[in-house]
């Protein structure tokens, strides 16, 4: 039984590392988080209910450790006022959909989200879990998952759009190029 649990944990490590990276935005910090998660999970294995998903339980531990850490050092991402985001004028749909995403830009934008929203984005958008699973992992109602995710996506969009070069600038660069 214990060997099987350790094997399952080893198998879950790549995804757990990716999740931790999504939370911390940094490989070293992410790996530290994974290590602490594994050690805590093993020492508290009596709290895991056999028959339930071990990886989901570990996601939850990782998220809790990370949130505790964030709260402890009182590091908060910049909170974007939702009303400001919603008041932004709409633009052409193609431009919206074609918004170029890069890992660096998304990392930077993620770092500005409130921790609870970032955790939901990491679960749903990076790890690909369903809203329902995300609710189980984070221990909040599915409605809260959806509202956090919706706000996070709107904020991310605003941040990414802001970071992207304006269309006019791109045109002018093209004109002066060789």
């Amino acid at each position: 039984m214990t060997d099987r649990i350790r094997s399952e944990m080893v198998a879950a490590l790549p995804r757990l590392r990716r999740f931790a990276y999504g939370l911390t935005g940094n490989t070293d910090q992410g790996d530290d988080l994974v290590q602490e998660t594994c050690e805590r999970a093993l020492s508290r294995i009596d709290q895991w209910k056999p028959g339930t998903r071990l990886d989901s339980w570990m996601y939850r531990i990782a998220q809790n450790i990370w949130l505790d850490r964030i709260r402890a050092v009182k590091v908060r991402g910049e909170v974007i006022d939702l009303e400001v985001v919603e008041a932004m004028p709409g633009t052409d749909g193609r431009e919206e959909v074609d918004l170029q995403l890069t890992l660096e830009a998304v990392d930077t934008a993620l770092a500005k989200l409130p921790p609870e929203q970032r955790a939901i984005v990491a679960l749903v958008c990076i790890e690909g879990v369903s809203y329902k699973e995300a609710a189980q992992i984070t221990g909040v109602p599915i409605g809260t998952v959806m509202s956090r995710l919706a706000r996070a996506r709107q904020t991310l969009h605003a941040l990414l759009e802001e970071a992207a070069p304006a269309p006019q600038q791109r045109v002018s660069i093209a004109k002066i190029g060789p």
């Binding site: 790549p14 790996d31 594994c38 020492s43 919603e86 919206e96 918004l99 690909g128 409605g143």
Partner: protein, 248 residues
């Protein structure tokens, strides 16, 4: 209202909206420009696009220190959960391969089996007087008054456990021919007497409906069990320890 619609629209974009809700949400999006703009934002920052960016991270080699942390960190005790339905079936499969050969078993369990027969016979309108004998495990016993009914019953102990009062309990299967069965749970009281705690109506066994017939008995076991199911050996020991009313 807008917030609610916004979240539904996002669920639609993410493919997580219930199909039945989709038409109404699509209509709402079509007639609400603000909602349409939100949908465009959700599409621009959708999970598939973000996942692509992070996909390669999963392929990176895991540092040894993390693997070592999993393999060598001290591990607490694994929780012992109450047995689920599948575990019970597995336990049952193991138990049915065993033979009940302990001397005195019939004596100890007899009242329980007789009680089970009495209880379940009520469902089949069999005169209780015809159930004058009990059956040992897997042994077919015709009713004593065979003129009352030609039905032959086979009683097989299925599971044994201790309930929350630390009483030894057994779940029994009572077969009526090859295709119908009833299930009962009997517990041994401190007086040493067995008491029928519940019995299910007879139903078909061996097919898809089998679980439905066993279900109420399993539910009763789930609700009353303390700890794990007993192994056949543990059950034999428990039965051998007390066969009179002297059990503490």
């Amino acid at each position: 209202m807008m917030k609610f619609a916004s979240e539904k629209a996002m669920a639609l974009v993410d493919g997580q909206l219930a199909p039945a809700e989709a038409p109404a949400v699509i209509q709402e999006i079509a007639r609400t420009p603000a909602l349409m703009r939100l949908v465009q934002k959700y599409l621009a920052v959708n999970p598939w696009k973000i996942r692509q960016l992070y996909r390669d991270l999963e392929q990176e080699p895991v540092p040894d220190r993390l693997t070592d942390a999993v393999l060598y960190s001290p591990m607490g005790e694994v929780r012992r959960s109450s047995p689920g339905f599948v575990e019970k079936l597995a336990a049952l499969a193991a138990r049915t391969r065993e033979k009940y050969t302990v001397p005195g078993w019939s004596l100890a369990a007899g009242p329980a089996l007789a009680g089970a027969l009495v209880a379940v016979s009520a469902y089949t309108f069999m005169p209780t007087s015809s159930v004058g004998a009990y059956a040992d495990a897997g042994v077919m016993v015709p009713p004593l008054e065979s003129t009352a009914s030609s039905t032959q019953l086979v009683v097989t102990p299925q599971l044994a456990f201790r309930n929350k009062s630390d009483e030894l309990c057994r779940m029994l299967e009572v077969n009526y021919g090859a295709k119908r069965a009833s299930y009962a749970v009997a517990c041994r009281k401190v007086t040493g007497n067995w008491q029928m705690m519940m019995a299910t109506k007879p139903g078909p066994v061996g097919g898809p409906a089998d679980a439905g017939v066993r279900g109420p008995a399993y539910a009763y076991v789930d609700a009353t069990i303390s700890g794990e199911l007993l192994t056949a050996e543990q059950e034999r020991d428990a039965l051998a320890k007390t066969t009179t009313g002297s059990r503490p």
